[in-house]
């Protein structure tokens, strides 16, 4: 009995199966096949929704183009910067507002007023302030993705276990320590979700901003392809944005496995 033999352990056995990354790729492949078939069998006209293979060919052409990489770089830069600002601001303000009930009551209506204002409605104002350069788009990105983080953090802070909170209070943890040792770990799963939401929203706004305002980047390329009727190129660019989203999620999940090892959601899936 020196080795652990799983004589009959269905749930253990399942872990032996296909690794998750392969499953994920299979899922993506499934989507590709779907998008190959839908136009091919004539459900929609392939001139308007080109089959995946055609899009892939356009994509192959794109990646050999230096301008594409330039656009990609500037999109990524704007996106990362906006996301970083929004995340930091959202987490800090969320924790401050969330842990002071009076502050929460005071800001509630204002937050609810500002949240549904679409960034697109703010485009003229952003342009007015900063013109068509990076900063206009940055404003939109930050504005839209900030709320994603903030609201998640507010709910996360409210999720602190009363007994854990009392423990910290009874040992007279300072306010900063309470945030660091109790509130932050509790809110962390919420922050993770907020970050994932914000990452996508920021990317969407970065692209939309580029698309409408015309600051350089993938969105601008999409707009150009769109107004030229270059359907396959446009979808190739859309695929690139989608893949960016997938990449972000892989990173977040990886981080989560490390920093949320103690959390029921992760430990149940990781441990035997």
């Amino acid at each position: 009995m020196s080795v652990v033999t799983s004589a009959r352990a269905p749930r253990l056995g399942a872990r032996r199966g296909v690794p998750d990354s392969v499953l994920g790729l299979a899922g993506l492949a499934g989507v590709a096949v779907l998008f190959e078939l839908v136009p091919r069998v004539g459900l929609v006209d392939e001139r308007y929704l080109p089959p995946a293979s055609v899009t892939a060919a356009a994509l192959a052409e794109l990646v050999s183009d230096a301008a594409f990489w330039q656009a990609l770089t500037s999109t990524l830069l704007g996106w990362a910067l906006g996301l970083a600002i929004a995340t930091v601001a959202g987490v800090v303000l969320g924790i401050v507002i969330g842990s002071v009930p009076a502050l929460r009551a005071a800001t509630n209506s204002t937050i609810e007023f500002l949240r549904p204002i679409p960034s697109v409605a703010l485009i003229p104002l952003a342009v007015l302030l900063f013109g068509a350069d990076l900063r206009s788009t940055l404003i939109l990105v930050v504005y839209a993705s900030f709320w994603q983080v903030l609201v998640q953090v507010l709910y996360g802070v409210a999720d602190v276990d009363p007994v854990a909170r009392d423990t910290a209070r009874s040992y007279r943890f300072s306010a900063v320590s309470q945030v660091r040792t109790v509130i932050w770990p509790t809110a962390l799963p919420y922050v993770m979700t907020g970050f994932r939401l914000a990452a996508a929203v920021a990317l969407i706004l970065e692209i939309t901003g580029e698309l409408i305002i015309g600051s350089p980047g993938l969105g601008n390329a999409i707009a150009t392809a769109q107004s030229s009727g270059a359907v396959a190129t446009m979808y190739a660019l859309v695929v690139v944005t989608g893949l960016l989203g997938v990449g972000v999620n892989v990173l977040v999940r990886r981080t989560e496995r490390r920093v949320l090892r103690w959390h029921p959601s992760v430990r149940r899936e990781v441990a035997a």
Binding site: S21, I117, S119, T193, L243, V248, R253
Partner: protein, 258 residues
């Protein structure tokens, strides 16, 4: 005593908005910029712009589409989230594909929706749904994943039927997170209501705002933005009333001094 308490509560709730309105008022008071009209001008246009007819012809259809799209997002997000959250393998399989779609800007997806759903209200509802389903989906997945193990074991031991497990364990256990997502989704749905009306629309609140913007009727545009904000506040009040009912146990538990 109660009067004083109410007064204090009112001061806390209304204080910040009052200050912000005052700041806005004075900052724009002497403004000559077309794009930054004085708040007084904006408020003057509010009544004529919205209260005389547009409420029924534009705001109402928008709100109906919003309600439909949001309801669908709630249903779909919760259902899908429960399935994905319950089985890690399903999550591994579907997550990258979903993340792929999540990262695509709705304006870019609209042409595809038009291909499948036409240009009517259906398409707009679809845009609202597809855009606002994500916070609900993501939060549901995380909520389902983090249900207490002892509670899960309890449900298994007493051999809860699938339906009971779903309702009494999974959905209620995840409900604090689902509500978080739903709260997020609400304001996103409002935003997408506006965005959806930028395509193939003939009426609607978002449509009106965009029209004002294009025809350089800037005070009207601002009044539209204010209306959007007010709708956001009103809906969030309704939301909070629902939340207080659904999550009474949770809020009691978190507030419980033990």
């Amino acid at each position: 005593m109660t009067a004083v308490a109410w007064g204090r509560k009112f001061a806390i709730v209304a204080g910040l908005p009052a200050v912000l309105v005052a700041v806005w008022w004075f900052a724009t008071a002497g403004s000559t910029s077309v794009y930054w009209p004085p708040l007084s001008t904006v408020l003057e246009t509010f009544g004529p712009t919205w209260l005389e007819g547009r409420l029924a012809s534009d705001v109402l259809p928008s709100l109906l589409r919003l309600a439909a799209g949001y309801a669908l997002a709630l249903a779909l997000g919760t259902a899908l989230g429960t399935v994905i959250g319950s089985w890690p393998k399903v999550r591994a399989l579907t997550e990258p594909a979903l993340e792929f779609f999540r990262a695509i800007p709705p304006p870019v997806l609209v042409p595809i929706f038009i291909l499948f759903a036409g240009i009517g209200d259906g398409m707009k509802i679809l845009v609202i749904m597809v855009g606002s389903v994500w916070p609900i989906l993501l939060n549901t997945v995380e909520g389902v994943r983090s249900i207490d193990e002892v509670l899960r074991d309890t449900a298994r031991c007493y051999r809860f039927r699938r339906r009971t497990r779903l309702i009494q364990l999974v959905l209620r256990g995840a409900s604090p997170r689902i509500v978080t997502g739903a709260r997020q989704a609400l304001s996103i749905a409002i935003i997408l209501m506006v965005i959806s009306e930028m395509f193939a629309a003939t009426n609607g609140l978002g449509f009106s705002i965009v029209q004002f913007q294009r025809s350089f009727a800037i005070p009207q545009m601002w009044s539209g933005i204010i209306l959007l904000g007010l709708i956001g506040v009103a809906l969030s009040l309704i939301f909070r009333a629902c939340e207080a009912r659904i999550l009474a146990w949770y809020q009691g538990q978190r507030a419980a001094q033990r």
